[in-house]
Each structure stands twice: as C-alpha cells, then as structure tokens.
C-alpha cells in the first residue's frame, strides 16, 4: 500500500494476472476453440499500448502543452477514423470515407467541447488529466457506434432495395425512401450505449467509476463523473451518427433520385 492508501500492483501481481490468461489459453486449447492467437496478440498489444499511453500521459501531466494535446487529439481521431474504415465489412468509396471522417471529428469535437467547457467548466478544460481520458472515451465509443451504423446502413440499403425503389416509384424523395434504413442505422449505433446505461449500477460498475474508486475517490464523486461521461458518450455517439446518416444516405442515390446499384455506389465520384 502506498502513502495515499491505494494498493499498488507489484510486478509479480501483474505477472499473476497474465498467468490467469495462460489458464484461459489452456482451457481454450483443450476445448478446441481456435482463438489462442487472437487472445495472445490482443493481450500483448494492449500491454504495449497501455505502457506507451502511460508514459505519454506522465510526460503530458508533467509538461502540459496545448499544442501537444491537440496533436494527441488529432492522432486519436485519425486512429479512430482508420479503425472505422477497417471495421466496415464492405469496401467504402471516397465519398463515404470523407463523410465518416468529418462525422466522427464533428460529433466528438462538439461533445468534447461541451463536456469540458460546460459540464466540467472552469479553466481545467485543457488540463490533460481531464482532456485526454474524456476525449478517449467519447472518441472510442463514437467509433464503435459509427462502425455499427455504417454496416447497418449499407446492409439495409442493399437488402431493402425493393422497398426503397417502391417508395421512389410512389414519388418519395431519397430522404423519405431511405428513412427506415437511416433509422435502423441510428438504432444499431446507439444500442450498445443504451444497453450499457440500462445495466449500469445494477449489472456492472462501469470501468471509469471503478478506476476512480480504486484510486481512492469517493464513490459519490465517481458516480457524478460516470453519469456525466455516460451522457456525454450518448450525445457524442448520437451526434456522430446523426451527422453521418444525414449525409451518407445520399451516396446511394444519383442526382436523378435513382437508387444506385452497389457497384455503382462503389465507384460514385
């Protein structure tokens, strides 16, 4: 235990945590579930990423610089955009990639600024201690949300082709004709966040709150932070996806309000 009363995890204790994963690997192998490689790779990748993140955070906390903070924020956005591209099951054309990039940047920046300037308030908005973790949570969740939304939108625009064309035949605008698909994409995006909010405090204690409590913060303060961050995440995911779907459905139509074939969508300029 250190001076602040927090149990510091020693190296051997950390090794014990890895031993737990080794037990898991043995069980997975015995059961014939061929997932050993992904478990090992993800454990190693997580370790390296967190070690690097830890040192970067220590440096930033000791040498606060707005320029460096901004650079880190842009890197996080860039990583999230790229990760979104790789998570989508179908090839994305340039137009859709552009829409994903500005939806993610727009939705998360608006939410982050609101959260830091209004909810947290004061002069702490550019304090790396607040800025980085909050930006990380908003960007990470928005990335997951928009990935689900894109997959659902593309899937729905293809499987619901007859219905969309049927609506166009009756005089619907592309916006009206794709309304159902857009709504489904929005639902798919925010569902994980909504489910997480519904189970929070009953089924599980969220990670951020658990972390704060373990580090000695009063549960009441931790809860207030958790409530605020969850609402921030909900807003960020919703904003990101709303910006996305508002623009993205148009990619599936040409200027004559005709529904494009999937291969035409892939090549549409």
């Amino acid at each position: 235990m250190n001076k602040s009363g927090i149990v510091d995890i020693e190296l051997w204790q950390l090794i014990a945590a890895y031993a737990y994963v080794i037990v898991l690997l043995v069980i997975v192998r015995i059961m014939g579930i061929k997932r050993e490689k992904i478990i090992v790779v993800s454990s190693i990748r997580m370790t390296l990423q967190l070690i690097i993140a830890g040192y970067v955070l220590i440096y930033l906390f000791n040498h606060p610089s707005f320029g460096f903070l901004l650079l880190l924020f842009l890197l996080m956005e860039g990583f999230a955009i790229n990760n979104t591209f790789t998570r989508v099951k179908v090839p994305l054309n340039r137009e859709l990639k552009k829409i994903i990039a500005y939806s993610l940047c727009g939705g998360t920046t608006i939410s982050l600024m609101y959260f830091l300037l209004v909810v947290i308030g004061g002069n702490t908005w550019s304090d790396p201690r607040y800025f980085i973790p909050i930006a990380g949570m908003l960007i990470g969740n928005s990335m997951t949300g928009i990935s689900l939304g894109i997959n659902r939108l593309i899937d729905s625009m293809r499987t619901e082709r007859d219905r969309i064309e049927g609506a166009l035949m009756l005089g619907a605008t592309p916006k009206m004709a794709s309304k159902d698909s857009v709504n489904k994409a929005f639902d798919a995006s925010i569902l994980p966040t909504i489910n997480s909010m519904l189970g929070m405090g009953i089924v599980f204690l969220p990670g951020m709150m658990t972390g704060q409590i373990l580090s000695g913060t009063s549960p009441l303060i931790a809860i207030k932070y958790q409530i605020a961050i969850m609402l921030g995440i909900l807003g960020s995911v919703a904003f990101t996806v709303l910006i996305f779907v508002h623009r993205a459905y148009k990619v599936f139509f040409n200027k004559e309000a005709q529904l494009l074939l999937p291969e035409e969508t892939d090549t549409k300029k």
């Binding site: 007859d162 035949m169 009756l170 005089g171 605008t173 159902d180 005709q258």
Partner: protein, 224 residues
C-alpha cells in the same frame, strides 16, 4: 388542325437505348388511353416502365413526357404524377391504413379519411380492417392493397407491372375492370405490362408488343 385531346402523346420515345436490354427507335403513347405492353419474360417490358418512371435513365435517346424531355423534369415531381406499381407489390411496415396512406405521404398530398380508405379497399375486393397488419396479407391481397394505394393517389399516369399476376382469374377480371373504369373516370393514362395477350386484348385500347428489347408491333384494339 389540332388533334383531339385524348390523342395527344403522354410519352414520346426517340432512339432510346438501355444497355443491351432495350432499343426503341420511335414510340408514342397516347394520353388518357389504356396501353398494354405484351411480350415474353425478359423482353424489356419492365425496363421500359422504369424508364418512363425515371427510375432508370436511357444510355442514349430521348424520352418526352408531354413534350418535355424527361431529363429536364425533376424526377420526384415526375414520379408524383407518373406513378409506378412493381410486379411484386411493396408492403411497408405497419397496418393496412398506413400502407394505403403512404403513397399520399410520399407524394405530400392531403391524407384521405378512413371512409375513403374503406371505399378503395372495397373497390379492389379486399375485405379487411384498416388496423390489420399488412405483412400478413397473401400475395394477391398485397397486390390489391398496392392497387388501392394507387387509387387514392389518383395519378395522372399509372404504370402497372403485371398488376394482376398474383390474382385468380375471377378476381383479376373484377379488379382490372374497376381499375380501368376508375382511370377513365379520372382522365388518367394507364400503361400496363402483361405477358398475357388475352388480358391485353380485354382491357387495352392500344397493344405494344415487345420482343428481345424491340417493338415488333403496335395495334389499336377494339374492345368492349
């Protein structure tokens, strides 16, 4: 001398080509008349209807709608006047009422009261309640629901792709007659696609026969 109003062309096609599916050198479809397009499956009939509804555009050539080239007309505005019903009727989520009203909603027209909805259902011989879920209807019932939806919209031009393909002979006769009478009463132009020559001869004033994407004959039909 100007030709009578009902002889004016609603559509004129000149040198229209679409992929390797359709090539029409010249075609005129008269306004306020009933025109049937007959031909085997895959002959290009549905493609022609889609071109008239501007759901697809020709690779070359020009289609005129009431003397105006189609490419200069706003697609959505055109489709609110020239409404198409596909062969497999499209049923939207919701009940029968919502499915009937959706055409009016899409075309931003005034919604009809329940009494009017019931009368169009009756006209197509569909004895159902407005609150019943539409997805539970049979194929033939869905087709009749789609026709009733068009009746509510009272379009200037009806484009019907095999409008009675899921109906039995008796219902087909009953429904087709109602639709044709309704169209005539409202001064509409009806263009329908069918693979059945007897049906074309029974209801159409003009029959256009299409084979391998080209028009092989156009004949005026003297029906009752």
């Amino acid at each position: 001398m100007e030709s009578p109003d009902n002889e004016k062309p609603v559509f004129t096609l000149k040198e229209v080509k679409f992929n390797d599916i359709l090539y029409i050198k010249e075609l005129t479809i008269a306004e306020k008349k009933t025109t049937a397009m007959v031909g085997k499956s895959g002959s290009g009939k549905t493609t022609l209807l889609k071109l008239l509804n501007k759901l697809i555009s020709p690779d070359s050539g020009t289609i005129y709608y009431r003397d105006t080239p189609l490419e200069t007309i706003d697609s959505v505005a055109l489709r609110r006047e020239v409404v198409m019903m596909p062969q497999t009727p499209v049923i939207f989520e919701g009940n029968i009422r919502e499915n009937l009203l959706i055409g009016l909603k899409f075309s931003e027209k005034k919604l009809s009261p329940d009494g009017r909805l019931m009368s169009v259902l009756q006209a197509v011989g569909l004895d159902k309640k407005l609150d019943e879920p539409a997805h539970l209807l049979s194929g033939g019932e869905k087709q009749r629901l789609a026709l009733a939806r068009l009746m509510l919209m009272v379009p200037r031009v009806w484009l019907l792709d095999e409008p009675s393909s899921a109906l039995d002979k008796e219902t087909e006769d009953e429904v087709m007659k109602k639709i044709m009478d309704f169209g005539k009463r409202n001064g509409s132009t009806i263009i329908f696609v069918t693979h059945s020559t007897p049906m074309a001869e029974k209801y159409a004033e003009e029959i256009i026969e299409i084979e391998n994407g080209e028009i092989v004959s156009i004949k005026q039909n003297q029906h009752e």
